[in-house]
Symmetry: C2
Subunit: 167 residues, 2 copies
Amino acid sequence: MELQLVNERRRGPYAAKRLSEFAARCRRGGLAVTPQRLAIIKALLGSGEHPRADAIFAAVRMQHPHISLATVHRTLETLCEIGEARKVTMLHDSARYDGNITPHHHVVCVKCRRIRDIEIPRLDRLLAGQSELGEFTVLGSSLEIHALCEECGAKRAKANRTGKPRR
Amino acid sequence: MELQLVNERRRGPYAAKRLSEFAARCRRGGLAVTPQRLAIIKALLGSGEHPRADAIFAAVRMQHPHISLATVHRTLETLCEIGEARKVTMLHDSARYDGNITPHHHVVCVKCRRIRDIEIPRLDRLLAGQSELGEFTVLGSSLEIHALCEECGAKRAKANRTGKPRR
DNA sequence: ACCTAGGTGATAGTGATTATCATCTGGTTA
DNA sequence: TAACCAGATGATAATCACTATCACCTAGGT
């Protein structure tokens, strides 16, 4: 089997492992280990729902009634920046439309959000043979390739040369 | 070569073909062919930028100075509904976070937006061998599989039985 | 030409996210 | 251990993309 739903039972041990390393990873990223951050990563690791900020807020509030929604938004963003979390899509800011309705996928520059179409016939073939996925009926798909475009890559290289930190 | 940027030169002929069929496709979808809709699909087909509503608005305004931004939003949405356009991601409404930072992909229910993790080792392998893509430096990727979850599929089936239109 | 369902423009409203800023605190240093 | 301060937080205002509302308009069938 080539496509496989990730087993929910793996989450417990995975979360425990990630949590045990969290403080060290924060410090490595130059971040203070605060109770709020701990609560937020804990809530995120404990959920298989790919939650939005408000869901994390609701969960965390039970233990930290004074936490601010702004802190939740900020912290989730920060966690993504140090690689302790990810977004399901990096294109959630606003709707992007495409007039090309033939099957294709996208490369997205992680800095400037420039998007270009790409074709991956092998991927389309792989998915064409998959109509069910656990409890899901497959309808279609779209691959988002994260990349750095030439222009942004050049800017970053220049910034590095003049001594600015990469991130 | 397995991954390939779509050639920009294809857009001209493709847009012309789509435009010539547009009126017929609107009527097939039960939509009136209005100057605004024509201008919007034209602007969309003429752009390789995967534009946001405001960019389409700006482009269309040059020929239709009285068009409303609301019309642009509505029309782009309508075009997606009848299959004349698509969104780059269906998850643009709000940020969804994932605590799982191991390489994986997602199945998304098109109705309720439930998301589950999936693993596609063959896709990861395919992409691991691709560090450049035209002017882009590849960093990672995320596949969004569009699907219908069991619950929503059941609801839809039931609605059909009781005579409600599917869409 | 006439009718009407559906489309549009103007604008108010909503919901998610970000900005601002005064206050607080983790973690380093004396 | 206390004192310090860069960075973190909470409260709240502001912003931004998008949707709802509604009076008026028009495409397309009669």
